[in-house]
Symmetry: C2
Subunit: 133 residues, 2 copies
């Protein structure tokens, strides 16, 4: 199948497929005599795999390292598991950062509610943001 059909089937853009090819995430397909990319049905699976892995938060670089092992025929479960675990640590760190930011923002919002806006006139001071405990 040509790139347009693959794109429609896998619900990605043709641009994205060519981009994936350019970074080595999908292999170069056969070409028709006129130079069009000609994909096998397996390409749909590969794109689906990439999208699923992406949905779990893996970056394209991480997905690529899984795919390379898969392509080499290696038992990739172990590698994938390590990647997944590393990513889990990252996600936990991100969540922690966001929760800290969230608490700070809540604090600001409450302080803003408690303040009289007419007293907030010093152009070099904003009582909402400044003056944290």
């Amino acid at each position: 199948m040509r790139i347009g059909e693959l794109a429609a089937t896998a619900a990605v853009s043709t641009k994205t497929i060519r981009y994936y090819e350019s970074i080595g995430l999908v292999r170069e397909p056969e070409r028709t005599r006129s130079g069009y990319r000609d994909y096998s049905p397996a390409a749909v699976e590969r794109l689906r795999f990439i999208r699923e892995a992406q949905a779990t938060g893996l970056t394209l670089a991480e997905i690529q390292s899984v795919l390379e092992l898969k392509d080499a025929g290696a038992a990739s479960c172990d590698h994938t598991r390590r990647l997944v675990e590393r990513h889990l640590v990252d996600i936990d760190a991100q969540i922690t950062r966001l929760e800290i930011a969230r608490a700070e923002l809540l604090d600001l919002a409450e302080r803003a509610d408690a303040l009289d806006p007419t007293t907030c006139t010093d152009p070099n001071r904003c009582q909402v943001i400044e003056g944290s405990p």
Copy 2:
């Protein structure tokens, strides 16, 4: 004071200060006869304000809109509060996304633990990532 001293005092780089000036976040300072930037002590406060606002998760564009109101002498508490509240909604959405991703990853990790790696040999399938319930 010159840019190096300001940078050291406010714990930012000179590059960052010039960048902030280029996007209008800090005003153009006076210049010495030789063309060096010459800052008033108030610049330290402004940078400190920017860094604090940034630490609460506001983007530079958002900080700029607060600063513009402050510079205009307007009562900015109300505007700040709205920005803060909007950002709170964003953060909650981000946290939710991350928690979903986290649950998926945990699931993957458990599945990986339960699998026998020697059965993961089909180069087009990875039992860890695929076959989600």
